[in-house]
């Protein structure tokens, strides 16, 4: 078997795409999530319903959009609607998957994209929630795509922008968030994580090729649950890589 060469970002796009199921709906954000959803549509999930927060519903995306509201997000769509429309659909339970990015995450999948340092006197001011809190509150399952290191996988996030499992089992429901919703997968440059059914804590599902358990541990402040059996992430296929570069020929996302 010949070795297929790929980058971390390509691997992450493929892993994210494979999680998305055919005949399900997904809320998509800028960058990697868009690429992943487009890849899924062009491989195993042709009937994946893509929804954008600004109002694009079911587009046939011609080229990679730059913004979640740009005209490519409702190109040949079934509807060019409104934010109220798609957000209320999400609140009613129509959206199965949602993507999130994160500057920081904790073991319960709580996410910070607002501020590094104290909120009153920020060291770094980040853009804030945008649609993230909505996605994390209202979609059935969220998939988090982010870089992993000990400054990002933290014991406590500086600020909870978007809810994960909050303080643990039952906390989402107690806060009034929709039953059964919450973080589903975390995909980083090192591995893929899920959340333990019982404790709602982040647990390792697979390590990417060439990554050790030690790499996983060193790059997190909190203890990640490590099961006895751990698989290795399937690398991208030649076909997947070909499609990825058709989706993003100029490397807007893939070259980053």
């Amino acid at each position: 078997m010949s070795e297929v060469k790929y980058s971390t970002i390509e691997l992450m796009a493929c892993v994210a795409a494979r999680i998305l199921e055919d005949r399900k709906s997904v809320f998509v954000g800028t960058g990697l999530p868009m690429i992943a959803a487009m890849l899924a549509q062009r491989t195993h999930a042709p009937n994946l319903l893509i929804v954008f927060e600004a109002g694009g519903i079911g587009p046939q995306i011609p080229v990679l959009p730059i913004s979640v509201g740009d005209s490519r997000t409702f190109y040949r769509a079934v509807a060019a609607s409104s934010m109220h429309d798609v957000m209320m659909l999400a609140q009613a339970g129509w959206i199965d998957y949602g993507f999130l990015g994160a500057a920081q995450i904790d073991m319960y999948g709580n996410i910070n994209t607002t501020v590094i340092g104290p909120w009153e006197k920020p060291k770094v001011r980040l853009p804030g929630s945008g649609g993230a809190n909505d996605v994390g509150s209202l979609c059935n399952r969220t998939i988090i795509l982010m870089r992993q290191d000990a400054r990002r996988f933290v014991e406590r996030v500086n600020y909870i922008t978007t809810p994960g499992y909050l303080t643990g089992p039952g906390a989402r429901e107690k806060a009034g968030l929709p039953e059964g919703s919450g973080p589903y997968r975390v995909i980083t440059q090192l591995g893929v994580y899920g959340f333990d059914e019982e404790t709602k804590r982040m647990k390792l599902l697979s390590v990417h090729p060439g990554v050790t358990i030690d790499d996983i541990k060193v790059n997190s402040q909190f203890e990640i649950l490590i099961p006895e059996e751990i698989s290795t992430t399937e690398p991208p296929t030649k076909e997947e890589l070909k499609i990825l570069h058709e989706i993003d020929p100029t490397g807007i996302v893939l070259r980053k």
Binding site: F74, Q91, N110, P127, G128, A175, L177
Partner: protein
């Protein structure tokens, strides 16, 4: 209703719905020719200290002609609705017009990276973030206002610091008994919206996604429409289902072709990445911000002059072809850092 939790953010642009009805009672219901120049519209309707909100989304269908004019007229101490505020808020904050902002999304340019200028202003405390929201929560505040209600119940913000820094409240829902988040109505003092076409009275049509402009137009105390073109009133009556904003909501109509540049106007022209790139490059320093404003804002009298300066008909034709997928995208930031 039992209040379970209260956000500590500053409550802004909220009125008792009865008070707002008194405001609406004074508004004319008759067809009035509302055409004026952008200079007149900004000088007449924007006051120092006003709460302002822009239509569109991020870099899409934003009334940039207005933004430049607000800067040119040196409006000060504005409070901005940071509802997916991207290029508009970045430039306004950098120019010193904004002293407070409510944030759902700001200080970022999506894929293009973070905003150097407005982050600098916020991190040094010259512009204060007074509350945090999510995109859905913010637009539901406009929906509440549009409906003439004091608040609207939602299932977002719950359990997070985004809630703590908002001016929302969590109560026990009297029907289900579960906690539910009430977001307060938001009635902005003045809203600017760029549309594809409208008549001289303000009956406006938007092509493509409406984003939250349906709600925002109805929440605004004053609404200024900038438009790609003014069409005959009869055209509106021939296809009335296309009217997103009826005339009585509108205070002024300003015809500004390419008025969203460098933003994307769906079906007409795409982002001018070269220009956005220039802003992102220059705005890394205070001097750069000044250089940009001197050249593109203070240095021009009219929007036509500005369009000449950014590349004239050649550039505008390129952006039109790009929108119709007949050109390759050129963006100086491609290969830059992804940080959102």
């Amino acid at each position: 209703m039992e209040i379970l939790d209260e956000g500590e953010g500053e409550l802004l642009a909220w009125y008792d719905p009865d008070e707002h009805r008194k405001w609406i009672a004074k508004k004319p219901r008759d067809l009035i020719d509302k055409r004026m120049t952008i200079k007149e519209a900004v000088s007449k309707f924007v006051h120092d200290g006003d709460y302002i909100a822009m239509g569109g989304f991020g870099h899409i269908r934003v009334s940039m002609a207005t933004i430049y004019e607000i800067i040119r007229q040196k409006k000060r101490n504005l409070t901005m609705a940071g509802k997916t505020a991207v290029h508009d808020s970045d430039i306004l904050i950098a120019a010193g017009c904004v002293s407070k902002i409510e944030v759902a999304y700001a200080f970022g340019h999506e894929l293009r990276g973070l905003s150097p200028a407005s982050r600098r202003v916020v991190e040094t405390g010259k512009c204060k973030v007074v509350s945090e929201w999510s995109n859905a929560a913010f637009q539901w505040r406009f929906l509440a206002a549009a409906m003439g209600l004091p608040f609207i119940p939602t299932r977002v913000l719950l359990g997070t610091d985004t809630f703590k820094k908002s001016s929302a409240k969590v109560v026990k829902d009297p029907f289900s008994g579960k906690p539910i988040c009430l977001v307060p109505a938001c009635f902005p003092d003045v809203v600017f919206m760029h549309v594809h076409r409208c008549d001289i009275y303000g009956n406006a049509q938007i092509d493509g996604i409406i984003v939250e402009d349906f709600e925002l137009a109805r929440a605004a105390k004053r609404l200024i429409i900038t438009t790609e073109e003014i069409i005959d009133h009869e055209k509106i009556r021939e296809e009335p289902w296309k009217t997103v904003i009826p005339y009585f909501l509108v205070d002024a109509v300003v015809e500004v072709p390419f008025g969203a540049h460098p933003c994307n106007m769906p079906y007409l022209y795409y982002f001018d990445e070269e220009h956005i790139g220039e802003w992102l490059r220059l705005s890394k320093t205070e001097e750069g911000v000044q250089e940009y404003l001197d050249k593109y804002v203070y240095g021009v009298e009219t929007f036509e002059e500005y369009l000449e300066l950014v590349g004239g008909i050649k550039k505008l034709n390129y952006l039109r072809r790009l929108e119709k997928l007949r050109e390759k995208l050129y963006a100086p930031w491609i290969g830059g850092s992804l940080n959102e």
